[in-house]
Symmetry: C2
């Protein structure tokens, strides 16, 4: 049963040598003996493609391996590890690798969310593996869990904290009462947020991961454009404080769910990223700092959660290497891993098709009959109330926090629009979904 | 990319038709179309082996499929799903299936912990798959995570809550102040504990799972006999209450870790099951009721946690079906999954070889100088103190709670033996390890 190498070395090409690429080279080098034993053949790095040969690099990267000619590098490899990010030239290089019969491991969420089907189809036609564990939630093995472990089950819903930057920012707002700008500045100072934090705080990064997870979970093509997206930029320190006061934690969640569409009578898929109130007792509420977590509800398995580091060189490299071992083993032993299936081909529903519990906060006039007017509008739109909390605000104003039972988003939005028109309502302060209850 | 069936039906034999077997038959039947699309070929149940043809069964199980002749059934199958449990005849039937070239999926932790290497070797020699996700922590896909996702990383430590019965019992002791007997009786009344709860409360079930996890995590053969085992039967309501008072939760943990052995100068593996104090802030502390969770620390990925239902027909069946899809896909597309590797062949260390933090509770005489005597003994054995808490007990006694820094277990045990001999010490009430700090 010892797995001594049984074939010649496999040639590995690494595209990109940033933080993750460097760690991948490190693990390939330092763990070479263990990897060879686990794969049944040694791995040889045949080259590391970079843009700039003269940039300063970690000494673990042998300068003789560096090349700017990525295209010819991929033609000399059995396994291509793509860590450049972005759409081009990553896309062309992956297609080139596939057409030369190489297996591909990538961490490129943006590319997969935008053009995954093209890549999946090319890999399937060529009969080569395309693995991408590191593209979603870093070291958390959720891609493998959804595409393999749950392959005999039916997933109902996936709730993910898949962006560590926003999770850190919301954590700091909750812990210290910071407003969003200050928390983002702090995250930037610590290197947790980019100089331009748009991709994180506007939810684009989470939306790309949501599209990938939804495609796997529901065997349906979901692209970035299908994802309803709302970032955290509209959240105030007040929103965060009120979340805590009502027993919740504010999290930016990526949500993919199977929804029965009343209009067509069949199931559809709804994929959204938005700030959500998570009840304090829910496992996702405790996922702090830069951790990522994905919570899955499925028909047979019930509730599952996967937690771990969502970013960083070493954790991401661990996920990449796990994929490298899988595809390399297939080279040695024959066979290949799962292909992306889109056989279910469920319709992707528009954002308003969802149903959820909501929490609505209002500033209203502090006089009798206000709640009755608001409650009447809710009843008229068939939104039923779970709890109401009324407290004095400044001057003659009162603060009203309404938590609903499960309601359709369309009804809720219509209700809130009507409430905003009431003479006694001064402002609709926030409308937030409550998830995981 | 739609995965239309591309080959003739695959024949599935189910051995055992208890709670899990029934749910497996249900999923195979109700999800037949989805499974065929995901596998690329339909699955046909060719038989369900049972001991008693006349027992009352769920109508989802077609009586015409039942047979008492398991041996001839396995010869007619491409995929054999073993859910009988126990050592024989499960072991012989699995070997028979392998020798006939069938892939095997099993949930049999006792058999794998006792005789896994024989089965792994037979499967590897025959070139067939042997999958066993459901043998550890039910629906929680930790086997796949450790043997595939972390294949490019080095695992340092695995901490698991892998027995739902004891987790429920400890939960109830903590929440209601029940003593152990009452909590076990309650668990029995609810069907969470067997009439004879020995396998759970004495830690045998957890030890079998620990052996399997350790083998996978450290590429080393670990059998049930190698696992240090201490159940929860010695725990009192006081132990549970003091855990809470000092900011901990008592959990029965299965612990597998790579330990540097000072004597031999090389690494070894230490595998133990024992009640542990888990700090309230640790993710494992919040795993309540009948949930299972496995916490993994690895060199590159850092900390990961997997949470889900550890038992029950449907969750276990979900894990079994995930494996069935994997092995069936290999039948259709060629190739096979990972084999068990024991190339690392690390020595399995005896229980005393470990190092940990400890909490020691003593009843002592309530007079000056007692703490000084106790502290002197600890210093003499090179056990350093992190915190001490002294409080009056009944009469002229005092209660002393000592938390140590990390110390070797051998030193700690020697210290406690010496402390017990002190004239001023009336009783050593408990010695518990603190994990996950």
């Amino acid at each position: 049963m010892s797995a001594a190498p049984t074939s010649g070395p496999l040639r590995v090409a690494v595209l990109g040598c940033g933080v993750v690429g460097t760690q991948v080279v490190r693990l390939l080098t330092e763990q070479a003996d263990d990897l060879a034993a686990r794969i049944g053949a040694p791995l040889t790095i045949v080259g590391v493609a970079v843009r700039n040969l003269d940039a300063e690099r970690d000494p673990v990267v042998d300068p003789d391996l560096l090349t700017t000619d990525a295209q010819s590098l991929v033609r000399r490899a059995d396994v291509v590890v793509e860590l450049m990010g972005g759409i081009e030239p990553a896309r062309s290089l992956i297609l080139e690798a596939i057409s030369h019969g190489a297996a591909v491991v990538t961490a490129n969420k943006a590319l997969l969310a935008q053009d995954g089907p093209t890549l999946y189809a090319a890999a399937e036609a060529a009969g080569v593996d395309l693995y991408f564990e590191a593209a979603v939630a870093g070291a958390v093995p959720v891609v493998r869990a959804v595409r393999e472990s749950l392959a005999g089950d039916d997933v109902r819903r996936v709730l993910g904290i898949v962006n560590g930057t926003t999770n850190y920012v919301l954590d700091r707002m909750a812990a210290e009462g910071l407003d969003l700008d200050m928390a983002v500045k702090e995250a930037q100072a610590l290197g947790y947020a980019e100089a331009d934090p748009t991709a994180d705080v506007e939810g684009y990064d989470a939306a790309a991961k949501a599209a990938i997870l939804a495609s796997l979970a529901f065997h349906t093509r979901v692209s970035l454009d299908d994802v309803g997206r709302e970032g955290i930029t509209a959240l105030t320190a007040d929103d965060v404080a009120w979340a805590a006061r009502t027993g919740h934690v504010l999290k930016l969640l990526a949500i993919a769910e199977r929804v029965h569409d009343e209009e067509t009578g069949r199931d559809g898929v709804l994929v959204q990223v938005h700030p959500s109130l998570v009840p304090e007792g829910h496992p996702l509420a405790k996922v702090g700092g830069s951790f990522n977590a994905v919570f899955v509800e499925s028909d047979a398995a019930g509730e599952l959660m996967f937690l771990g580091r969502g970013a960083g060189g070493a954790p991401t490299a661990s996920a990449v290497l796990g994929d490298v071992v899988s595809v390399a083993r297939h080279r040695v032993l024959g066979g290949k891993g799962p292909v992306e299936s889109s056989y279910a081909d469920l319709p992707v529903l528009p954002a308003g098709a969802g149903r959820a519990r909501y929490q609505v906060r209002l500033d209203v006039e502090d006089r009798p009959g206000v709640l009755a007017q608001v409650a009447a509008l809710l009843a008229e739109h068939e939104v039923s109330i779970e709890a109401v909390r009324q407290s004095p605000a400044a001057g003659d104003a009162a603060h009203l926090v309404i938590t609903t039972h499960i309601a359709s988003e369309a009804n809720l939005r219509a209700t809130v629009a009507a409430i905003a028109e009431l003479a006694v309502v001064r402002a609709v302060l926030s409308v937030l979904r409550v998830e995981g209850a």
